[in-house]
C-alpha cells in the first residue's frame, strides 16, 4: 500500500476513526492491527518475518533482563545482533556477496552458475531491523525502559507511518508516545495537513515528474557533460523530494494519531560541509550510525587517524545499508572521504592558528554551500548510476566539458519542478517568517494556500502509482 495511493488515504481514514473510537489500552492493539494490515497489504507472507523477528527480540530482551550485569547480558545482545543482522544479511546481502565472489572466481575461469536463489527483499527490513537493534542495545545499557508488553514492543517495531522507510525512531522517543499518545490539538491538525499536502506534492509532482527525465538520461548510451550534470541535478532533487515526501506523509499521518515522529530532513542542500550535510540528510539514519556504529567503534576519541578510520568504516557501512551493490559502497566511502577531508581541513586551520574567518562570513558560507552542493551532486551520480562502468563513463564525460545544444531545453523542462521544491522548502522554513505570519493571519488565507497546493498536486501530479525510491533499501 503506497502512501501516494487512494488505498492508503482510505485505509488511513478508517484507522483514524478506529483509533478515535478505541478506548485506552485498546488503542495500542488497534494501531498494531492496522500496522500489520498495512504491511500484509504488500505481501502477507512476510508478515511472519516481521512478527517472528519481533518475538525473538522480545524474548531475548526478557532473558537479558533476568540476568545480572556483565557477560551474561552481553550474550543476549550479541545473540540479537547476530539474529537481526543475519536475517538482514540473508535477504539483502547474501546474493550480492555470493555473486561478487563468483565474479572473482570467474576472473580465474572458475564457477559460473548462480549458487543462491534470488530472494525477494522484504519491504522495510533495513528500517525495522535497525529499530530493533536500537531497542535491544538501549535496554541492555539501561538507556530506555523495556517495553511493558509484547504488544508495546511490536507496535514500536511496526508502527505503520514509519515502518517501510523510517524515520528510524529511537525507542526512548517513540515508545512512550505509543503508550500514551498526546491529545491532538488544532496545531497538530494544521501541521499534519501541511506535512501531508507538501509530502504528496513533493512525491507526485516533483519526484515523479523528474523521475522519467532522469531515467531517460541514464538510459542513454553516450553521456556528455551537460547530460551528466542534468542527470545528477535531476536525481538529487528527485531523491530528495521522493524520500522527504514519504517522510512528510508518514509524519503527518502519525501527527494526526497524536504521535510526533522525528524530522528526517532539514534542507540538506544548504549544508556548508559534509558533517552538516549528514546532520540535514536522512537525520535518523545518521544518528543511528553515530550512536550504534561510530561511537561504539571509538568515535573521535583517541588518535586523529583512528577517528578518521572510524568515520570511513561508519560511512562505508552506511553506504552498504542503502543497497547490495558496489556503487552504494563507493557512495558511502566517498562521503566518508569528504568528512575525513573536512576534519583534516578543520585540524589544519586550528593547529596553524587560522581562524577560518572566510567561511564565517555570509559570502563565505554561500561559497561553502555551493561547493558542498557540487560535491553532493557527484555523490548522487555515484548513487544513481546503473553500473561502475557507467560511473567511469559519466565521470570521464563530466571532465570532457562537452555540452550539446539541447542542454538548455532539457534544463528548462526540469527547472519548474526544482524551483517548486526550492520555493516550497523556503516557504515552510523559518526564514520565510513574514510569509508564514501572513498565512496564519486569516483562516481564509491559510485555506487558500492549502487549496493552491492541493490543485498543484491535482493538475501537475503524476499519478502513475510510482513506488518510493527508499522502499528498495
Amino acid at each position: 500500500m503506497l502512501f501516494n495511493s487512494l488505498d492508503y488515504i482510505a485505509f488511513f481514514l478508517v484507522v483514524l476513526v478506529a483509533i478515535r473510537l478505541s478506548p485506552g489500552r485498546h488503542r495500542v492493539l488497534s494501531l498494531l492491527v492496522a500496522s500489520y494490515v498495512f504491511y500484509a497489504a504488500w505481501d502477507w507472507r512476510f508478515l511472519s518475518l516481521l512478527v517472528g523477528g519481533t518475538l525473538v527480540d522480545h524474548l531475548l530482551v526478557r532473558l537479558l533482563l533476568q540476568r545480572a550485569e556483565g557477560k551474561a547480558r552481553r550474550i543476549f545482545v550479541v545473540g540479537s545482533l547476530v539474529f537481526n543482522l543475519g536475517v538482514l544479511g540473508v535477504f539483502k546481502y547474501l546474493g550480492f556477496f555470493v555473486e561478487s565472489f563468483q565474479s572473482m572466481l570467474g576472473i580465474f575461469g572458475l564457477g559460473s552458475t548462480s549458487l543462491v536463489p534470488a530472494l525477494v527483499l522484504p519491504l522495510g527490513i533495513s528500517f525495522f531491523t535497525f529499530q530493533k537493534i536500537a531497542y535491544v542495545v538501549d535496554v541492555s545499557r539501561g538507556r530506555v525502559e523495556p517495553a511493558k508488553s509484547f504488544l508495546d514492543f511490536s507496535l514500536y517495531v511496526s508502527f505503520f507511518p514509519q515502518l517501510i522507510a523510517g524515520p528510524i525512531e529511537k525507542p526512548r522517543d517513540l515508545m512512550p508516545q505509543l503508550r500514551a499518545p498526546s491529545k491532538v490539538t488544532g496545531d497538530d491538525c494544521l501541521v499534519a495537513c501541511r506535512l501531508l499536502l507538501w509530502g504528496f506534492c513533493k512525491k507526485v509532482v516533483v519526484a515523479d515528474n523528474l523521475g522519467p527525465k532522469v531515467d531517460r538520461i541514464f538510459a542513454a548510451e553516450n553521456l556528455d557533460t551537460g547530460m551528466v550534470i542534468l542527470g545528477a541535478l535531476g536525481f538529487a532533487f528527485q531523491i530528495y523530494a521522493d524520500f522527504s515526501g514519504y517522510t512528510d506523509i508518514g509524519r503527518g499521518s502519525a501527527r494526526l494519531l497524536g504521535i510526533r515522529l522525528q524530522k528526517n530532513f532539514d534542507r540538506p542542500f544548504l549544508a556548508a560541509n559534509p558533517q552538516e550535510f549528514w546532520r540535514r540528510w536522512h537525520i535518523s539514519l545518521s544518528e543511528w550510525l553515530r550512536d550504534y556504529v561510530y561511537i561504539p567503534l571509538g568515535g573521535s576519541r583517541g588518535k586523529f587517524s583512528r577517528g578518521n578510520a572510524n568515520v570511513l568504516t561508519t560511512m562505508l557501512l552506511g553506504g552498504l545499508w542503502h543497497g547490495a551493490a558496489w556503487h552504494f559502497v563507493i557512495w558511502g566511502g566517498y562521503h566518508g572521504l569528504l568528512i575525513v577531508g573536512h576534519r583534516c581541513y578543520q585540524r589544519w586551520t586550528s593547529t596553524n592558528g587560522i581562524p577560518g574567518r572566510l567561511f564565517s562570513t555570509d559570502v563565505g558560507r554561500y561559497l561553502a554551500v555551493a561547493a558542498m552542493f557540487m560535491f553532493t551532486l557527484y555523490g548522487w551520480l555515484i548513487f544513481r548510476v546503473d553500473s561502475l562502468t557507467q560511473l567511469a563513463a559519466a565521470t570521464k564525460a563530466l571532465f570532457a566539458l562537452d555540452i550539446e545544444p539541447g542542454f538548455l531545453g532539457s534544463l528548462s523542462r526540469m527547472l519548474p519542478y526544482i524551483l517548486l521544491m526550492v520555493l516550497g522548502d523556503f516557504f515552510l522554513s523559518s526564514t520565510a517568517r513574514p510569509v508564514v505570519r501572513l498565512l496564519h493571519s486569516r483562516a481564509w488565507i491559510l485555506a487558500g494556500a492549502g487549496l493552491i497546493l492541493f490543485y498543484i498536486i491535482l493538475f501537475l501530479g503524476n499519478f502513475d502509482g510510482n513506488s518510493f525510491i527508499y522502499f528498495e533499501f
Binding site: L6, D7, A10, T185, G186, D187, C189, L190, N209, P212, K213, D215, R216, A219, D266, R267, L270, R365, S429, S430, T431, R433, V436, R437, H440, A443, W444, L446, A447, G448, G450, L451, F454, Y455, L458, F459, L460, G461, N462, F463, D464, G465
Partner: protein, 333 residues
C-alpha cells in the same frame, strides 16, 4: 540557517474553520470549473453513439476497439483490401473499456443489427490497464457502477468512479495535466468540438487523417505511458469482461477475430518476448474457449513515424494497418 518552529498556535475550532473554508473553496472551484469547461466530446456523444449503433444497418465486418482502433483503422481501406464486397464498419469508441463492450453488443443485438463478424482491436495497453475508473467516472451513473460491481469492477474502482463524477479535475486529471505540462491547448479545444457520430467518421478520416504529415518524433522510454511500461499482462477484470462479450457474440452466431494493433519499437522492447508470449497464450485461450481467430502472429512493430504519439497511429500508420488487417481477414477466410 537552522530552522526553528513557527510558534503559531491554533486551537481545534480555529483549525475547523480553516478546514471549512478549504472545503467551501474546493466546492466553488469544482463547480466553477464544471460550469466553464464542458464535458469531453466523446463523453457527451456516447449516448448518441449507442443509439446510432442500434439504428445503423450492421456492417458485415464490425471493428470494435478503443481510440487506437478508432483512429488507426479505416473501414474503406479494409474493405478495399478484402475485395469481396463485404462492408466494414468501425464502431470503435475512444476511451471505451472492455467491460462496456458486452452491454453495447447486447443492445445492438436486441435491435436486430447483427454483424457477420466482429474484429476485437483493443489497444494492447488496455489489457493490463483497462481505464475502468476513467470510464466509470465519465460515463456510468451511480446505479450502473453498482451493477458492474463484481463484474470486472472492484469496490475501489466504484469509489474512484464516484469521486471522478463529483470532481471535474479528477475526471480529466490525465488530460489536464498533459495540457498544462506540455503547454498544449488541444485538450481544451477538443472540449468544444461536436461529438462525432459513427456515420460521420469516414469523411473525416478521408479528408483530415489521410493528409496527416509524417511524424518525426522518436518514442523512447520517457514517452511511454504507465500502461506501456507495465509488463503486458491481461488483468482478470479485462479477461472477465471480454469473455462475457465473447460469450454474447458466440451465442448470437457472430464470428470473432482478435488483432493486436501495432506498437512502437520502444513498447515492444519494454514488453519483450515475455509480453508477446502472454499475448499469444491469451489469444490461444480465447480460441480454445470461443473459437476466436487471431489475426497475425504476436506483436507487430511499426517505425516511429507511423505513430502520432506513443500508441496512436498516424495517417501513414493507419493506412498500412488497415491494408494489413484487410489482407489478414481475407487470408483467414
Amino acid at each position: 540557517m537552522q530552522s526553528r518552529s513557527h510558534n503559531f498556535k491554533m486551537s481545534l475550532p480555529q483549525f475547523w474553520r480553516v478546514a471549512l473554508y478549504f472545503g467551501l473553496g474546493l466546492i466553488v472551484f469544482e463547480l466553477g470549473l464544471g460550469l466553464i469547461l464542458p464535458e469531453g466530446a466523446f463523453v457527451r456523444g456516447l449516448e448518441e453513439i449507442e443509439t446510432e449503433i442500434q439504428q445503423l444497418d450492421a456492417p458485415d465486418i464490425q471493428i470494435f476497439g478503443d481510440s487506437v482502433a478508432y483512429g488507426g483503422i479505416w473501414e474503406e481501406i479494409v474493405a478495399e483490401s478484402l475485395g469481396d464486397g463485404r462492408t466494414v464498419g468501425n464502431y470503435s469508441i475512444p476511451g471505451i473499456c472492455p467491460l462496456f463492450a458486452r452491454s453495447l453488443l447486447e443492445d445492438q443485438l436486441a435491435a436486430e443489427k447483427k454483424p457477420e463478424a466482429i474484429v476485437v482491436a483493443f489497444s494492447l495497453a488496455k489489457y493490463s490497464s483497462p481505464s475502468t475508473v476513467n470510464f466509470l467516472s465519465r460515463h456510468a451513473t451511480s446505479g450502473e457502477m453498482l451493477n458492474l460491481l463484481g463484474h470486472g469492477v472492484g469496490q475501489a474502482d466504484v469509489v474512484r468512479g464516484h469521486l471522478g463524477r463529483l470532481s471535474y479535475t479528477l475526471r480529466y486529471q490525465a488530460e489536464l495535466r498533459q495540457a498544462i505540462v506540455s503547454a498544449d491547448p488541444s485538450f481544451f479545444r477538443s472540449l468544444w468540438e461536436e461529438p462525432k457520430s459513427i456515420s460521420g467518421r469516414p469523411n473525416r478520416f478521408a479528408k483530415i487523417d489521410l493528409i496527416r504529415e509524417r511524424s518525426e518524433r522518436r518514442f523512447q522510454f520517457e514517452n511511454l505511458t504507465k500502461e506501456q511500461r507495465l509488463p503486458f499482462t491481461p488483468t482478470e477484470s479485462v479477461q472477465h469482461s471480454l469473455w462475457q462479450f465473447f460469450q454474447v457474440a458466440t451465442d448470437a452466431g457472430v464470428d470473432l477475430y482478435l488483432v493486436a494493433p501495432p506498437i512502437t519499437g520502444a513498447s515492444a522492447e519494454c514488453w519483450g518476448p515475455e509480453g508477446e508470449e502472454r499475448w499469444l497464450k491469451f489469444s490461444e485461450k480465447a480460441h480454445r474457449d470461443f473459437g476466436i481467430v487471431l489475426l497475425g502472429e504476436g506483436f507487430t512493430t511499426y517505425p516511429d513515424d507511423h505513430f502520432r504519439d506513443p500508441w496512436h497511429l498516424s495517417g501513414i500508420g493507419a493506412g498500412r494497418f488497415s491494408r494489413e488487417l484487410g489482407d489478414l481477414l481475407r487470408k483467414s477466410d
